[in-house]
Each structure stands twice: as structure tokens, then as C-alpha cells.
Symmetry: C2
Subunit: 107 residues, 2 copies
């Protein structure tokens, strides 16, 4: 395998989690927001169109799964897949970096 | 500090390195491509307009520094700052994840 092929995977990974709001959506789900309304409430500034699009993309990429609960009315929940949960070490390193280098908005 | 303020930093960090080609540019510079033409050659598909824009943004964000060498003609080099080099653990975790979960284009 050449350095280039590794780079293609890395590039694909960054595009996937780097898309606007993707990281925030994954973070909200990992913190326990499983219903659509809960996820939206957890992310100020994210509108319905964008949330629906991101959920579709993250589902298509295999990062989240969609569970339809057999209730009346039917409930839908979003959960991280193993692939999604496995992002945790990368996200934790990025959070550490952000904490060290990104100033808070009011600083 | 509330969970929300940490999330704002994390979100900002993801937007910064997740912008299309940003990760690839940082990766190329970290691997020794310091001149504009070297960076462009290292990233197939990246055009001049986009590379110039990304270099400006990464410089403005403090991730790279621009060194003007006193030669004839003048040479310009791009290097990672301490802030940029400090992204390495996060990038390594993401590369590990990508290697595990992202299929190669021809698979």
C-alpha cells in the first residue's frame, strides 16, 4: 500500500466528519440525544433541512443506525454504530486540541 | 465551564480542519511539502484557487506560518506552527480509524 492510498482514506474520513454539523450531530447522539427533536435541541443553529440531510448522510456512511420502535405512534431513534463509536479516540484527541488552542467565543 | 462551551470549541476545530482539502494540505506540509508547487503536486485534484484559499485560511487560523526566504528570486515556504503540529495525535487517531473503517476506492 502506498502513502497515497492511506491518504485517500484519511481524506475521505475528514470529509465525512468534517462536513458542517456532522461532528456536532455525532457528538449529540453519543451524549444520549437519540430522538430527532432531542438532537435538534442539543445543537443551537442547526435547522431541520440540514439535520435531516446530515442524518441521511451519516446513516448512508454507516456511522449511525436508525431504530424504528414498534410503538403507537411509531418512534424513531438514532444510535451510533460500532463504526461511529470507534471515532471516540479521534474525537477525544481533537477535543483536547481544541481545548488547548481554540479560544472561547467571548475571550 | 458548561458542556456547551467545550462543544463550541470542538465544533470550531472540526470546521477548521474539516473544510474541504484542509486536512490534505496540513498533511502534505507535515510530510515535507513546503513550497506552493510541492503542496499542489502532493494533492491530486486540488486547484490553484482552492489551494491559495486554504493556505490563507490555515495561516489566519494560526495552523501554518509563511516564511519568506531572502533569496533571488524570493522563495516562500509554508510550515506548521506549534498549534498545527499539535494536531498530530488527533490526525493519527483519525488515520487509524480511517484505515479500519473506510474501504479503499477500488474495493
Amino acid at each position: 500500500m502506498s502513502a497515497h492510498t492511506v491518504c485517500v482514506r484519511f481524506h475521505t474520513a475528514l470529509e465525512l466528519i468534517g462536513a458542517r454539523w456532522s461532528g456536532a450531530v455525532l457528538h449529540a447522539i453519543s451524549k444520549g440525544a437519540h430522538r430527532y427533536a432531542e438532537i435538534r435541541a442539543a445543537i443551537p443553529g442547526l435547522n431541520d433541512t440540514m439535520l435531516a440531510r446530515r442524518l441521511r448522510e451519516l446513516h448512508a456512511a454507516g456511522l449511525i443506525e436508525r431504530r424504528v420502535l414498534d410503538t403507537t405512534p411509531v418512534k424513531v431513534e438514532y444510535h451510533l454504530t460500532e463504526m461511529g463509536r470507534d471515532l471516540r479516540p479521534a474525537f477525544e484527541e481533537l477535543a483536547t486540541w481544541a481545548h488547548r488552542w481554540i479560544p472561547l467565543p467571548d475571550e
